[in-house]
Structures are given as C-alpha cells and as structure tokens.
C-alpha cells in the first residue's frame, strides 16, 4: 500500500508539472499584452512595467523562473488587484468557496444516496420513476440557471434568504442548494445502478435465504456494498461543483476563488488565471488521490489485496 501511495504521489507531481508547463506556454501564446486594456502607457512606461514582471526576458528564462516559483509555492503576481501574489489572493478567497463547495457535496451526496437507494429498492415502481426524474432534473438544469431562479424566488420575492451577501450561514444556503443539484443527480443515478446490481447478486440471494427480512437485507448487506463504489465519483463531482461555483459565486457575489477566476478572465489577468488553473488542477488531483486511497481502505478486497490496485 505504501509503495502504491508513493507511486501515485510521484504521478501526481508529474501530472502537475505537465499541466503547469502547458498552461505556461498556452499563456505565452496569448495575443496582445495583458496591459492592452489598461490606460495607454508610453513605450518607456511599458518597458518598466514589463521588466517589473520579468516579461522582458526570454520565454525560456520566464518559464524556469515560473517553475522555480511554483516549487516554492509561488503562483506569481497578479497584474490587477494591487499586484497581490496569487497565493495570497487564493488564501483570502478559499474559505467561502470551500464552505459552499463542501456543503453542496455533502448535501448532494447524502440526498443522492437516499434517493438512489430508494429508487433501487422500489425498482420499476412510480417511486423509482419519480426518483429518476428528480435526479435527471438535478443533472440537467445548469447550476447557474438554478441559482438565478433560487435567487429570484427565495430571496427577491419571498425574502427567505439574503439576495447576495456573504456573512453568515444563511447567506450560504442558496448557493449551496444551487450547487448541490448536480452531485445529487449524479450520486442518485450512480447509487441506483450500483444498488440494482448488488440487489440482483448471489450474495443478496443468500442473505434472503438466511431468513433476513427485506429491510435487513438492505441495511446489512446491500447498502454497504453499494455505498463503497460511490466514493469513486467524489472526484468528478468535485469538478462539477468547482465549475458551478464559478458562476454561482458570481451570481450571489460571494468572494470566493470561482468569482475571482471569472473576474480574472474578463480582465485578462493572466498570472491569476494561470495560478488558479494550476491550483484547481492541484486540488483535483489531490482529491482524486485521496479518494483512491480512501477507497482502498474501505473496500476490504483492495485493502487486503496484494498491494492495492493497478
């Protein structure tokens, strides 16, 4: 297991290295300078500013510098926002994003598991149809559409929650709901498929043959076996929540990294875009790694198997 984890960590860094490199060169291919939409600068001024950001050096030197900085956890300096280091920017804005992201994942996963399990147990009944429909809605309605609708009805019209504000838990409810729909739909569908599979397996048959009531068959055997694989979709779910977060934060004016990312795009703040891209990728590969290791621990077949999975 330890060997497997080490190997995975090595690949994690390799992947990040490649992503950082690709991002860097993509950014260098950009047309125009990042300053083109700022006040006109004289050529001299421009030269000074460029030197300040190291843009007067050859691309290769810039690359080596950038990668060196990355190794020390330096994601570069923003062109905007008072030239703040990108890491500082992320640091200030991480908490709100993490909060609504985590809340949405937890809410979506829990509800999704329940919905999927109920659908599987009541397979081919109206309960199943209804659950399937709800999960399809969750999957199909983009989070930004949902966010706007929630904001209009629950905030503007009925004043149940604040419209766009970031202070207490109350203000995180609507963005959480908007973001939870997709994981809910994903988990519910996945859970249903898994559980239908498990319910038709021989060991469930044997569990019935032992004299377990239908309820006990589900709680003692079917649930555990169908829940374990759900762990594997946490990674993709995190991605969809991150994605949704970019607009949802914008709609609700939440000072998170998603809102920052969109803002950086519209202001051509390349170092921030680059830094956030690498940060998002880092977050994702780490989550996937953790999930894989977690999976190895909760599934006895892998935990006790010969050195984990391929």
């Amino acid at each position: 297991m330890a060997k497997y984890i080490l190997k995975r960590i090595f690949y994690l860094f390799l992947t990040l290295f490649i992503i950082a490199t690709l991002t860097f060169f993509l950014m260098k291919m950009l047309p125009g300078t990042p300053f083109s939409n700022q006040n006109r600068m004289s050529p001299d001024q421009l030269k000074i500013v460029k030197a300040q950001y190291g843009l007067d050096q050859s691309v290769f030197v810039q690359y080596v510098r950038y990668m060196g900085g990355l190794l020390q956890g330096n994601l570069g300096t923003s062109f905007q926002f008072n030239n703040e280091p990108v890491t500082a920017l992320i640091g200030q804005r991480l908490a709100p994003s993490m909060q609504i992201g985590a809340q949405a994942m937890i809410l979506g996963t829990v509800l999704g598991i329940l919905l999927g399990a109920v659908a599987a147990i009541r397979k081919n009944t109206w309960v199943d149809t209804l659950a399937t429909f709800i999960s399809i809605l969750g999957l199909s309605i983009p989070s930004f559409v949902l966010a706007v609708l929630l904001q209009f009805y629950l905030a503007y019209k009925w004043h149940i929650y604040p419209v766009a504000l970031w202070d207490n838990f109350q203000s995180s409810v609507l963005p959480t709901l908007a973001l939870a729909a997709l994981p809910l739909g994903n988990v519910a569908r996945f859970m249903r498929t898994e559980m239908v599979d498990v319910m038709s397996s021989d060991y469930i048959e044997l569990a019935k043959a032992k004299g377990n009531s239908s309820w006990k068959v589900v709680t003692k055997h079917a649930l555990r076996n169908s829940l374990i694989p759900v762990v594997t979709i946490i990674g993709p779910m995190a991605v969809s929540v991150m994605t949704g977060s970019m607009v949802v934060e914008n709609i609700f004016s939440i000072p998170g990294i998603g809102e920052q990312f969109v803002k950086s795009i519209t202001t051509n703040d390349y170092p921030t875009i680059m830094g956030l891209t690498i940060f998002y990728s880092f977050l994702l590969v780490v989550i996937i790694l953790i999930v894989d290791i977690l999976y190895g621990f909760i599934d006895p077949r892998i935990r006790l198997g010969n050195g984990g999975k391929e």
Binding site: S140, F152, Y156, V239, I265, T266, T277, L284
Partner: protein, 346 residues
Amino acid sequence: MGVKNNMEQIPNVPKEKFKLIHDENNNEQEKIGTPSLTYLQDVRRRLFSNKVAVVCLTLLSIIVLISLFAPLVAPHNPNAQQVTLSNLPPKLGNLNIPGFNGYQNMGGKMVDAYKQAGASKDTFYLLGTDYLGRDLLSRIIYGTRLSLIVAILATLVDLIIGVPYGIVSGWKGGRTDTIMQRIVEIVSSVPNLIVVILMMIILKPGLGSIVIAIAITGWVTMARLIRAQTFQLKEQEYILAARTLGESSTKIATKHLIPNLSSTIIIQTMFTIPNAIFFEAFLSFIGIGIPAPNASLGTLLSDGQKAFRFLPYQMWAPAIILSIIMIATNLLGDGLRDAFDPQSDD
C-alpha cells in the same frame, strides 16, 4: 413419489398412433418458438416501447426541426433592433390570455405595455422583446439552433478524435497503450471547464473556438470507453479469426470493431451533446462564448439574468428550452442504453 394420477388407468390410445417417426422432424424444432428478432429490430422495439424515450425523441425531433427551418419558422429577424419596442411582455395576438396579453405590472397597476410603447394594434411578440426590442421568440429559435450546432459539431469532433484514439490504444495494447492512457489521465486531471476557458482565452471568440475548446477535453471519455471495449472485442473469436486470416487492421477496425462499438458510441453521444450544450451556455453566460449580437441559449440566459428581477419571462423561456433539451437528451441516452443492453430491463 407423490403423483399417482393416471398411472392406474392407462389411457386408451389407438395403436396406429405409436408409429415411430424417427428424427426427420429434428429440424422442425426452430418453428416451435417465436421467431427471434434480429438484434437491431429488437433494439428498436425496446426503444419504442419505452414511453419516456419516445416522448424525448419526439420533443428533440421537434426542436431540431424548428432549428433546422429557423429562417422559415422565426417570425422576425432575431438581430433586428427596434429600440422603441424594447422589453415588451409576451402577447399572443389580440387574445386576452393573462400572461400573454401584453399587460405589465407597473407600479402596482396592470398597464398595456404595447399601447404605451406606441406599437401598432396588430404588433405582437409571442414571447415579448428584449432590451433592444428584438423579438425573443425569434432569438430563442436562432439561439437554440446555434447551441445545437455547437453541440453537434463538438460531438462530431469528439467522435473523430475519441473513437480512433480508443481503438488504437485498446488494439495495440502494451507500451503504446500505456503512453496513450497516461495522456488521457493528464488531460482528465484538469477540470474540463478550465481547459475550455483557457482555450477560449487563447482563441478568438466564436463558434469554431467554442467547438474546439469543448472537444479538446470531451474526447477523453469516449476514448476511454472505446478502449475498454476494444480490449474485450480483441479477444473475440471472429476477430481473432480475421487477424489470423491476415486482414488489415483498418479493415478489421471498420468491418468488425466499429459495428460492435456502435452502441457504445451512440449512447455516449447522447451524453456528450448535453455536456456540450452546457459548456456553450456556461461560456456565453460568463461572457466569453458566442459574441454579440448573435443569440445562443447561453447569451439569452445571460441577457435574461440581467433583466430577470423585473422581466422574468426573458430568462424563463431560454431556461426552459435549455432544460428540456438537456433532460430529453439525458433520458433518451438512458432509453438507448436500456434498449441496447437488454439485461438491464425487467
């Protein structure tokens, strides 16, 4: 054992019934059962007996047809501005249907917005107009068309990259496969949307860029599925036979592999389309997608959102169409999967 019926009274059967007929009727056996349908007929029958799938298919067909004939169907030019007639509510002829009568709540009173704007008596916009006085219905028709074009093109590019990639990776195996899979791993460890956004920053905004941006990550899933299946197919007897007979790889791929992969390809396509539609909408929503003045579902949503607080109909209409397309493609994908994969019925 239990059964004692009949044994005591041996039935009276005439002797001539006991002529041996030997095995000349061995081959009649097939006729006894119901004729087995061919696989594709079977798939079609299962699909069409699935009510949900049929409804989705019908809805999608209608939407596609309307988009296809947009110039004929749309009542106005989608980009024609008429600033005097901006932000008019929906009106359906001179029928007085609440919500579609051109009246609008202004300061607590219902006012005929058309009269106020000085529109002629027989001017009406079914879904109202936007802030530039453009007909919303026409914009939605053209917007849907553009979104569908993006989705279909992106899906095509997906297929063109993903299918051969998956086949080669699965077929060659070994080192080639390992390297190709590493690439897939790296591509898929960046959140799709980030790649899409990076591409959009680099490329000039427009239809082509969106298609490229979406397809650049989209092929990965397809490639993965195809590779896994190619691995299985490779070991099938008829393919082994074709290999030993020395058929060329291209011929094997087109003659044996692709037909067997088609169900996977069709099903996956049904999940790629809504994905592409989502990305287009997303990009346009944050303002880096389809450039003005053209309409797509994303730009309509984005415009609608700005006015949503006071003129909710401007967002509802595109939101509903977008959701219908997404839901219908997803459900149709499910239906197709069930139809192709009979063990998942009953």
